[in-house]
């Protein structure tokens, strides 16, 4: 019998390997005080609308349920977990640290791809945006990569404030900023350079030069500190850099800053992030292995 296009079986040797990784992660998560939750495989489509761009919501497996409502298979867990805990006062929350481990479903990004069902293991920490909360999550990311057996992993950290500030300080109109934002999201830095050079009278400002060089602005803490010092202390850039540096200091104290870099060119596909963002990867794999970030206001959407 055939399977549905994009869905696949896992034979014992593969399943064994997968479970080993999942169990290693679960053990670590529980050790750090995270508790497991389950969310429904099927959710209402409208649950995901506030957090998704149009093109992302088009990639959901949608269908009409028995009541005639538009339902979908979950494309990720974060939104479901936020829905699950929203509507409760902070002191009524049974816990502020949860994790999940399950299948997610997304239609392929293009006709040239097939994968549609993926296993996602992740965690959420509901708390104020404080450096120690972000540091805990990034520490979990580093430990997870190590425990999953990833050789020579690296972890890039950024803050959404970096690109916001650079765009805000450009002397171009909102329409141009919108285009630039889209090009950055699509990783098209040839167009970023072209737009900046054709619209700016003076394309040699710090912001313009940094936006052009974004994918290569990556380094260690001292470099981030000197970047911060080149901007006014009260600017969004300096404040964002300060936040990242404070997170970094905590990681140093914990002894898990090895492999950590700042990366101004870090680009997240979801729009809901509001603070620190990060991505884990290894030179042995062509795509990122782990992603995450800070989002305030997700609870308020429900």
């Amino acid at each position: 019998m055939e399977t549905v296009f994009g869905m696949k079986d896992a034979f014992p040797h593969e399943t064994r390997k997968k479970r080993e990784i999942e169990e290693a992660l679960r053990r670590i998560f529980q050790q750090w005080g995270y508790e497991e939750v389950e969310t429904p495989t099927v959710e209402l489509f409208k649950t995901f609308l506030p957090t998704m761009e149009d093109e992302e919501s088009e990639r959901l497996y949608r269908f009409v349920n028995r009541e005639g409502k538009l339902a979908c298979l979950r494309p990720e867990f974060t939104t479901s977990v936020a829905r699950m805990f929203s509507g409760r006062a902070a002191r009524e929350l049974p816990t502020t640290r949860v994790f999940y481990d399950g299948k997610i479903f997304r239609l392929p990004t293009s006709p040239f791809r097939s994968e549609t069902e993926l296993t996602q293991v992740g965690l959420e920490n509901f708390g104020r945006s404080k450096p120690f909360v972000d540091a805990e999550i990034i520490a979990m990311a580093a430990v997870s990569l190590r425990e999953a057996g990833i050789r020579e992993y690296e972890l890039d950290i950024a803050h959404v404030g970096f690109v916001h500030y650079l765009l805000d300080t450009l002397s171009v109109n909102d329409e141009t900023k919108k285009h630039l934002r889209r090009y950055i999201r699509n990783r098209d830095f040839n167009s970023v350079k072209e737009v900046l050079q054709s619209t700016l009278l003076d394309s040699d400002t710090t912001s313009a030069l940094m936006l052009e060089q974004l994918p290569f602005l990556r380094g260690k803490k001292p470099e981030l500190e000197s970047l911060r010092d080149s901007f006014p202390a009260q600017s969004l850039f300096a404040k964002s850099a300060d936040h990242v540096i404070q997170v970094w200091n905590i990681l140093e104290d914990l002894g898990i800053d090895n492999g950590v870099f700042f990366n101004l060119g870090l680009i997240r596909d979801f729009e809901y992030y509001t603070g620190v963002i990060f991505e884990g990867f290894s030179a042995y794999s062509g795509s990122p292995l782990l992603t995450g970030g800070r989002y305030d206001g997700l609870f308020h959407r429900f």
């Binding site: 040239f112 690296e154 699509n186 072209e194 994918p215 290569f216 794999s285 062509g286 795509s287």
Partner: protein, 213 residues
């Protein structure tokens, strides 16, 4: 893992790529001319070179098989590969156009209630139709697209045009220019970090050569 892997397109673009790159890299003599070898690796040359089908170059980069690649903008628009686009190399210049039979105006073509467009680029065509409020059928062909309107398979075509000679010979003309196309340098989204320094210096040297031409 000190060396970079570069994916180059075979076919028409290959010679132009090699000419451009030999101004930046100590290009080995054995790699010039009509070699049919698909992978080039040599201890004396610090790069590994892959030669892939022009439509596949960015796919090798997306999956991290190659760190850098050269690919036409038409392919990037069609495939939407998740890669960093770093530089317009200025070679392989042409235009993506909507073309139809000679003498048929854009208004006349668009006023037709239902048009049939033949193309090798279904995604670009579909986007163009949506943006311009065109409704119609799309016929996906592999090549010699000009044959379709000549034989009545389609009303119009979406294809790349460089000199316009093929269009003319098949009694077609440009109805609308969709976008300019040329070869681009693209990078894998992990290698751009793990090998960022080597890439940035290569990019600078290449940019100098491209802008001096």
């Amino acid at each position: 893992m000190a060396d970079l892997t570069l994916s180059l397109p075979t076919g028409r673009l290959k010679d132009e790529c090699v000419e451009l790159l030999s101004q930046v890299l100590p290009w080995p003599e054995t790699l010039k001319g009509g070699s049919r070898c698909l992978v080039y690796e040599d201890k004396t040359f610090p790069w590994k070179i892959l030669f892939s089908h022009p439509k596949d170059s960015s796919t090798y980069v997306e999956f991290g098989i190659a760190d850098l690649g050269i690919v036409g903008k038409d392919i990037l628009l069609e495939r939407e590969n998740h890669v960093f686009e770093l530089l317009d190399l200025g070679i392989g210049r042409c235009t993506m156009v909507l073309a139809g039979p000679q003498g048929l105006s854009r208004a006349e073509l668009i006023e037709r209630e239902h048009i049939r467009i033949a193309t090798k680029y279904p995604a670009i065509t579909q986007r163009y139709m949506t943006e311009n409020g065109l409704t119609g059928d799309l016929i996906y062909l592999y090549g010699s697209i000009e044959l379709a309107p000549a034989m009545g398979l389609a009303d119009a075509i979406v294809d790349l045009v460089s000199t316009g000679k093929t269009l003319q010979e098949n009694r077609l003309e440009i109805v609308d220019e969709i976008c300019p196309v040329s070869a681009r340098l693209v990078a894998n989204r992990v290698s751009i970090r793990t090998r960022g320094k080597a890439m940035a210096s290569f990019l600078d040297r290449l940019r100098e050569v491209v802008h001096n031409d």
